[in-house]
Symmetry: C2
Subunit: 142 residues, 2 copies
Amino acid sequence: MNLALIKEKITNCGLKFTHQRMVIFLALTKSESHPSAEQVYEEIKGSNPSISIATVYKTLDSFVQAGLLRKTIDQNGVMRFDSKLDAHSHLYCKTSHEIRDYENEKLEKLLQDFIESNDFDGYEIDEINVVFKGHKREKTIN
Amino acid sequence: MNLALIKEKITNCGLKFTHQRMVIFLALTKSESHPSAEQVYEEIKGSNPSISIATVYKTLDSFVQAGLLRKTIDQNGVMRFDSKLDAHSHLYCKTSHEIRDYENEKLEKLLQDFIESNDFDGYEIDEINVVFKGHKREKTIN
DNA sequence: TTGAGTGCAAAACTTTTGCATGGGG
DNA sequence: CCCCATGCAAAAGTTTTGCACTCAA
């Protein structure tokens, strides 16, 4: 994603465009692993030594409020951020705590149909979270 | 659930039977709301004033390790415990943070079939988490 | 008797908050 | 210029840990 487009995304939702927001957003779009706030901080502080972890938290929260990112909580209770906005599920490795996207149109359609054709006992469902949990198979050498 | 059965469950998995474990397990089986460690603690300390929150955490963890309970993490990053062990999904109210069981055999079968007939890119899936998130509809007075 | 379980307090860890300073529109 | 955003440090909230004591088997 180019920088002009990122600037547009940030300003379009009423947020001021700052250097910190740029690098944080960039880090998110580049990452495949749904990083935590700490991981974003580690990623960017090399080139932005004065940036504060509090700013990272506040900025990620602003982005989530603005709908630019999604937030989930992993098995360890740590917030993880996802720049992919369309309906998709996740794979979670219980060993490495890595989170990866799992994209399967049939599954998403199945789930959407399920929501539309079922009653949820007084709940207005606006989101569904599906996480397949397990262990990444070691690449066996044999 | 009667007390003898609880004792049996606890001892059967190699754990010593103690008063604390009894009351903690009992609190879990009585609760419908997937309580946090703190909530379990609040629930039981009236009748067990000397019990420690650390014991609650350690005990809940032992039960999870032993397979007597399941653990999930809610939207706030707080550990929540579930004494229901068969496959089921959850409803989460974003307002109250209440977690409720959502039991639907068709859905569970659908998911199981999906896991068995799909590839997960090197992941050995042994668990699936489905959470329907939304808001509990207010009971309208009109 | 003896090692697993408990209770207490301190520590660890993640996230939030308050406030003074800085910078974008 | 005016606020919104930032950085720092302190605080808050949850969970873990270390260690001495207790008690179930």
